[in-house]
Amino acid sequence: MTNRIWGFIKSVLLIELLIGLSVTLRNQFRPHTTVEYPRETPNLKPRFRGIPRLRKNPETGEDLCVGCLLCEKACPDDCIKVVPEKRPDGKGKQAAKFIINYERCCFCGLCVDPCPTKPLTAIYMSHDFELASESRTKFYYPMNNLYEGAQIKEYSR
């Protein structure tokens, strides 16, 4: 009985509504969580998977890619095309053409798994993610551009 009376009093005094109001009021004075994206760059974690890019050996500057076509085979979207050729020094192969179709890429990272140039893989998931472009042709890259990071950012203002 006392419980029911107490419950009635509570419901007349709108206790639970006031508790709710206090939650929103408290949050008004907490720090905000917004990341003002183009002004602030988001804090990307080391393993972030952006668009796949190619990488040169940082010490010698040689191409790391050995033209083994494993990434091409592993890609579920068929977005990689590699044309291998003999290296000028005759030892092994390198990629004559390496084309990634960013229109199709799904950022899954499966191309990186089988890359045989361990520990530094020739193809890697870069931190670039700003892909928007006005033209479809921009999504096909000359191989040189695959080496450079943060290229695609095109918007202004």
Partner: protein, 373 residues
């Protein structure tokens, strides 16, 4: 649907209203043909398929590892569960046993993802009913989980986090500490949502007694997951058919009593707490060791077929794989929990008001990527 003619001398008509496919509260591209009499729903026909991408067909031309990114995109809200289910199915098909540490990490990820998914559900469900602040609080906490995921696998939504036979990479250094930090912070956040909703009289009015379905009927129509457990049937794939290492953790399967929207809400809220419990246990007993069994990259399973299901946040996520002995699945079938759950919507809707339809879509927690596949 039979339509009862209202006993009135006025000439009244049943109005057909199209809800969706572009509508603020259909959680994607769901279209509902509602027949309404005034504001009372007398008939409801879901029309789906706007997001059909033919994944089952697509999988027939992909090798086994390549399917994983596709499973990410089925139920994109809980891609970890999808990943785990698919990995489990393939590992069952091949008879691969996964190293313990990998299994533990997988369980941690999946349970974190369950919390994230329930948070998204809570946010959108509350938003549908009109409480818009909960939505943003939920997303604030969900961001923390997504940050953890980003750190682990590099993606925030389509994780592609596991590999057949284990994991691609081990947990990054310091990850467990940050995860524990989250576990410490989170309960207070959940209390905030409960303060805003659980006892709020408007929330109670909007959810209690709405969309009641009995346990028997719920089983019959194929409901699984929290939607089923809200009706008092304690069926959880994690308990009934334990997969991965769920046998080793202690957790309860919360059930409701009345089978209404409010009970389903309570069940999901409790499930988040249980997930926290599982994660805590897994972090405490996380073994050292290898993270990946020796599995060839070019997998060729034996001829055979398996059905493997996991408890995704939405229900029983089944994977049926037919292998013909080549490196590509002969037939891949995704049993989406949302697809089966959505089937119950017409039954739930009839007799309620238009405003309740959005609450009911929310309470079934459908993800259209999962419905349409």
């Amino acid at each position: 649907m039979t339509v009862n003619e209202p006993a009135s001398t006025l000439d009244t008509d049943i109005m057909e209203v199209n809800m969706g496919p572009q509508h603020p509260s259909t959680h994607g591209v769901l279209r509902l043909k509602l027949k309404i009499d005034g504001e009372t729903v007398v008939g409801c026909e879901p029309i789906i398929g706007y997001l059909h991408r033919g994944t089952e067909k697509l999988c027939e031309s992909l090798s086994y590892p390549m399917v994983e990114p596709i499973t990410d995109r089925l139920d994109y809200v809980c891609a970890m569960s999808e990943n785990l289910g698919y990995m489990g199915a393939v590992e069952k098909l091949c008879g691969i046993s996964v190293p313990e540490r990998a299994d533990f990490v997988r369980v941690i990820m999946v349970e974190l993802n369950r919390i994230a998914s329930h948070l998204l559900w809570l946010g959108t469900h509350a938003l549908d009913i009109g409480a818009m602040t909960v939505f943003l609080y939920c997303f604030r906490e969900r961001e923390m989980i997504l940050d953890l995921f980003e750190e682990f696998c590099g993606a925030r939504l389509t994780y592609n986090a596991f590999r057949i036979g284990g994991l691609l990479e081990d947990l990054p250094p310091g990850w467990t500490g940050r995860c524990r930090q989250f576990l410490k912070v989170y309960p207070a956040c959940q209390k905030e949502y409960e303060d805003l909703l659980t006892k709020n009289r408007i929330w109670l009015k909007r959810t209690k007694g709405i969309g009641v379905i009995s346990g028997e009927e719920a089983v019959e129509i194929g409901l699984t997951g929290p939607s089923l457990r809200g009706s008092g049937v304690g069926y959880d794939v994690r308990k009934a058919h334990p997969y991965s290492v769920y046998k080793r953790f202690e957790f309860d399967v919360p059930t409701g009593e009345n089978g209404d929207t409010y009970d389903r809400y309570l069940v999901r809220m409790e499930e988040m707490r249980q997930s926290l419990r599982i994660i805590e246990q897994a972090l405490d007993t996380l073994p050292e060791g290898p993270i990946r069994a020796k599995v060839p990259n070019w997998l060729k399973p034996l001829k055979g077929e398996v059905y493997h299901s996991v408890e995704s946040p939405r229900g029983e996520q089944g994977f049926y794989i037919v292998s013909d002995g080549t490196d590509k699945p002969y037939r891949m079938r995704f049993r989406g929990p949302s697809f089966a759950n959505l089937q119950a919507l017409p039954q739930l809707c009839v007799g309620h008001l238009v405003a309740d339809v959005v609450a009911l879509i929310g309470t079934l927690d459908i993800v259209l990527g999962d419905v349409d596949r």
